[in-house]
């Protein structure tokens, strides 16, 4: 294996030139997105079919088929891009492959059916860069995913990969690297927003050896998956950032902490590390420049609080992942009480760009105090679900409407949840807020690691608050009382409100408990756990009041406060609801009006979902009495032609 070892920066450049010259720029490349999202849509089969078809048609010399990391437009998976034309095919099924090979690869025809359709104009867009989802973004960190097979280091090297590391080690002193990162004003992308350069410097200056550096890929926020996609799609960018950082900090040992729920990320990072070592970009005497660095991968065993820095460090030591006291920063006393610098996946992935293009370039993107881009996972009730990378300071409205394409099914926007369980829900009137660390915090939420869950009018905010509290209840490590008991109390009160047992004074009690948790909890999980409740109370108080005072759920979600019934005028006796009801609560039959037995009904909502929209006969109500069922045996009156 040692024959691949690069012994100097010059050899890296030589290899890069050799890879590029081996590649015919006119050769076509079919890239099949193989992130977890697209894999769930069957990307593996699509890839295999492409490979087999290309082989059987004897196109191997002319066409390369590549499985890449996530392209971001997860809503329309499987995403296939054909280079160099950048033809972008969406929602590709295994059955489409033969046609793409024979028509697009063979005859250079474009298949209209697989292109993006602009929902407003109905026009087709052939290139990725013409699709609004992409062209409103600024994909710096994430943009290379579509060119890279994460299991092949040469792909990364061909795009200039490891150039920043080589430059840092050969042309810069550790102090200069540190200075560049400080000057770039990069802030930690994991959620805290702490200046990265300062963090590095603290560990660098702290007494004690060895010093450790850590990549935090314990992405636990539900609804956020950008770290996963970076780790899966472009692991070398994270590794290059890590080694460069280690050089600046003076560390020779690192850890990459990946949650085991992300098997593909674990697999790809292990392969990437092996290859980096084989090429002399990791391990002893990196690039022949005398710097040594080795890294171990740790799989997280599933605990949300393990993403907290001190808890993660005890997990690395093989202990229970509970947060410790923070009188002394982990930057000074971390793993095994040695100076330890922990940064998020995305933070590390920013480093090679800062070294390559300089702090001034980085400072030209973003707003005052918030520089660079941020990757968000735009999910929930939005049309274009996926991962988006935008400059800091873009407004919520631009992200949700221009990139996200607005709300699904023509529904009305109600709120957007940012920052995961520690964040809050922001209502419509603040949609023009620029998104950065500081602005969202002012609204009582936070940017966090970049989760953005869009909610429509069918979302009950009290139920959402209950959901987040329930989540934190399950994840609280139980070490400190305000968090453990406070969450339990909040859960009880919120469950009561959702189930129609809310009482006067509940809201005040919630506010009381939240205050104590904020002040007295040991770590950020407890201190911020009440944010979803506090923001919903602030912006959607009337929903709480409707639940408590009128026993009514305005969004018609809370099971104990709603009813389903069938409008006899609209029912066409199609038997669909009757067949699908899991508890056989629906009566009626062929040509007989259906009606719901309220005693048997569990309010699961299945009938409401399956009733054909052209009938819309199932009515969901809250706070009003249910009309009595029609006499048994009532026959359906069908209009002529109906």
């Amino acid at each position: 294996m040692s024959n691949n070892r690069l012994a100097s920066p010059g050899e890296l450049e030589k290899l890069r030139a050799a890879i590029l010259s081996r590649r015919n720029p006119n050769r076509r490349v079919v890239t099949v997105c193989s992130g977890t999202g697209c894999q769930s849509y069957g990307a593996k089969v699509v890839f295999q079919k492409f490979a087999a078809k290309v082989r059987s048609q004897g196109l191997e010399g002319k066409v390369e088929v590549k499985a890449t990391g996530c392209h971001g437009f997860c809503e329309k998976g499987v995403v296939v891009i054909i280079l160099p034309e950048e033809i972008c095919y969406l929602s590709v099924k295994p059955d489409d492959v033969s046609e793409i090979v024979s028509r697009t690869l063979g005859k250079k025809e474009i298949i209209e059916r697989l292109l993006y359709t602009d929902p407003n104009t109905g026009k087709k867009k052939a290139k990725e860069s013409d699709i609004p989802f992409y062209n409103n973004q600024n994909r710096i960190i994430f943009g290379n995913n579509k060119y890279i097979d994460p299991k092949n280091i040469e792909d990364y090297i061909s795009l200039g990969g490891y150039g920043a590391l080589s430059r840092a080690l050969s042309e810069m002193t550790p102090e200069q690297v540190l200075e560049e990162v400080k000057r770039a004003n990069l802030r930690g992308r994991g959620g805290g927003g702490f200046p990265t350069g300062m963090k590095w410097e603290e560990t660098r200056n702290a007494p004690g050896e060895p010093k450790y550096v850590i990549v935090n890929c314990d992405e636990g926020d539900p609804g956020a998956y950008m770290d996963r996609s970076l780790m899966e799609g472009n692991p070398h960018s994270v590794i290059e950032g890590l080694v460069t950082g280690a050089y600046a900090i003076g560390s020779h040992d690192g850890f990459i902490y990946v949650r085991q729920e992300y098997p593909l990320a674990c697999e790809n990072v292990e392969i990437a590390l092996k290859q980096a070592e084989e090429y002399g970009l990791m391990g002893g005497n990196i690039l022949g420049l005398g710097f040594n660095f080795k890294v171990k991968v740790h799989r997280g065993a599933g605990a949300f609080v393990s993403g907290e820095s001190s808890a993660l460090m005890s997990a690395i030591e093989g202990k229970v992942g509970e947060p410790g006291l923070k009188y002394i920063h982990t930057a000074i006393q971390g793993v095994k009480d040695k100076p330890t610098c922990l940064c998020n996946v995305e933070t590390w992935a920013n480093i090679p760009f800062i070294i390559n293009r300089g702090a001034d370039w980085f400072n030209s993107i973003g707003t005052e105090g918030n520089k660079g881009t941020k990757i968000f996972s735009l999910v929930g009730k939005v049309n274009n679900t996926g991962l988006v990378e935008v400059p800091m300071g873009m407004t919520l409205k631009q992200i949700i409407y221009d990139i996200g394409g607005g709300i699904r099914d023509g529904k009305k926007f109600k709120g957007v949840q940012t920052g995961g369980p520690s964040g809050g829900i922001i209502p419509e009137k603040y949609l023009d807020t620029p998104v950065d660390f500081d602005q969202l915090t002012k609204l009582g939420s936070m940017m966090g690691s970049g989760g953005m869950v869009v909610m429509d009018e069918d979302t009950c905010m009290v139920d959402m608050a209950r959901y987040f509290i329930e989540f934190c209840c399950g994840e609280s490590c139980g070490k400190c009382i305000p968090c453990r008991e406070g969450l339990r109390m909040l859960r009880e009160i919120l469950t009561d409100i959702c189930q129609g047992r809310g009482q006067e004074g509940d809201i005040e009690e919630i506010e009381d408990i939240a205050e104590v948790m904020k002040e007295a909890s040991l770590c950020a999980l407890g201190q911020t756990a009440a944010n979803p409740v506090l923001t919903t109370l602030k912006y959607f108080r009337e929903e709480y009041e409707a639940h408590i005072n009128e026993k009514r759920c305005p969004a018609k979600v809370c099971k104990d406060l709603i009813n389903f019934y069938i409008d006899p005028e609209k029912c066409q006796a199609c038997i669909i609801c009757l067949k699908n009801c899991p508890v056989e609560a629906i009566n009626g039959g062929k040509d007989l009006v259906h009606w719901i037995d309220q005693e048997k009904c569990t309010r699961c909502g299945t009938c409401f979902e399956v009733c054909p929209p052209r009938f819309s006969a199932v009515i969901r109500s809250s706070g009003e009495p249910v009309p009595p069922p029609p006499p048994e045996g009532t026959r359906v009156v069908r209009k002529k032609g109906g």
Binding site: T36, A301, F471
Partner: protein, 152 residues
């Protein structure tokens, strides 16, 4: 030497008996056995020379570990926020009713174990259910029946 003892020895040896690797060792054993029996935990404690209380503390703290044997097929329903707003709770209810088991329970015939997870990171597909590693998006009652049937 029995099977458990051998497997533990191999796993512990893979990490050179490093006590810091306790979590990684247990993850390896969980993957091999599908659960951690008291025999396994005792064996780890003995071979790694870590008190059984600490082994048990780790095994009971993290979600990835199960102290009970699981069914032949694992059904995982994602309860992440994105799935939640798209009806994950209804999906979980539906599966729970169909199989007559509650979350984290195993059916009497040991066929299925129903689990929930906080986020699988494939939010575009929500609500998502995973059966033995295969992802299904927004399955209807009929689709679920087929999926369960074909699992065997």
């Amino acid at each position: 030497m029995n099977q458990v003892c051998k497997t533990v020895k191999r796993t512990v040896g893979g990490y050179q008996g490093n006590k810091d690797m306790l979590i990684q060792i247990l993850l390896g054993l969980q993957n091999k056995f599908g659960w951690l029996s008291s025999e396994t935990l005792r064996e780890v404690s003995k071979q790694l020379e870590v008190p059984i209380t600490r082994v048990y503390q780790i095994a009971s703290y993290y979600k990835a570990f199960s102290l009970y044997p699981k069914g032949r097929h694992i059904i995982t329903v994602c309860m992440g926020t994105a799935c939640q707003v798209r009806g994950a709770a209804r999906l979980l209810d539906r599966i729970s009713t169909m199989l007559d088991i509650r979350p984290s329970e195993t059916s009497e015939d040991k066929r299925f174990t129903l689990e929930t997870v906080n986020c699988l990171g494939c939010c575009a597909l929500g609500p998502v259910v995973v059966l033995d590693g295969v992802y299904y998006t927004k399955p209807s009652k009929e689709a679920l029946e087929k999926i369960f049937e074909s699992a065997g």
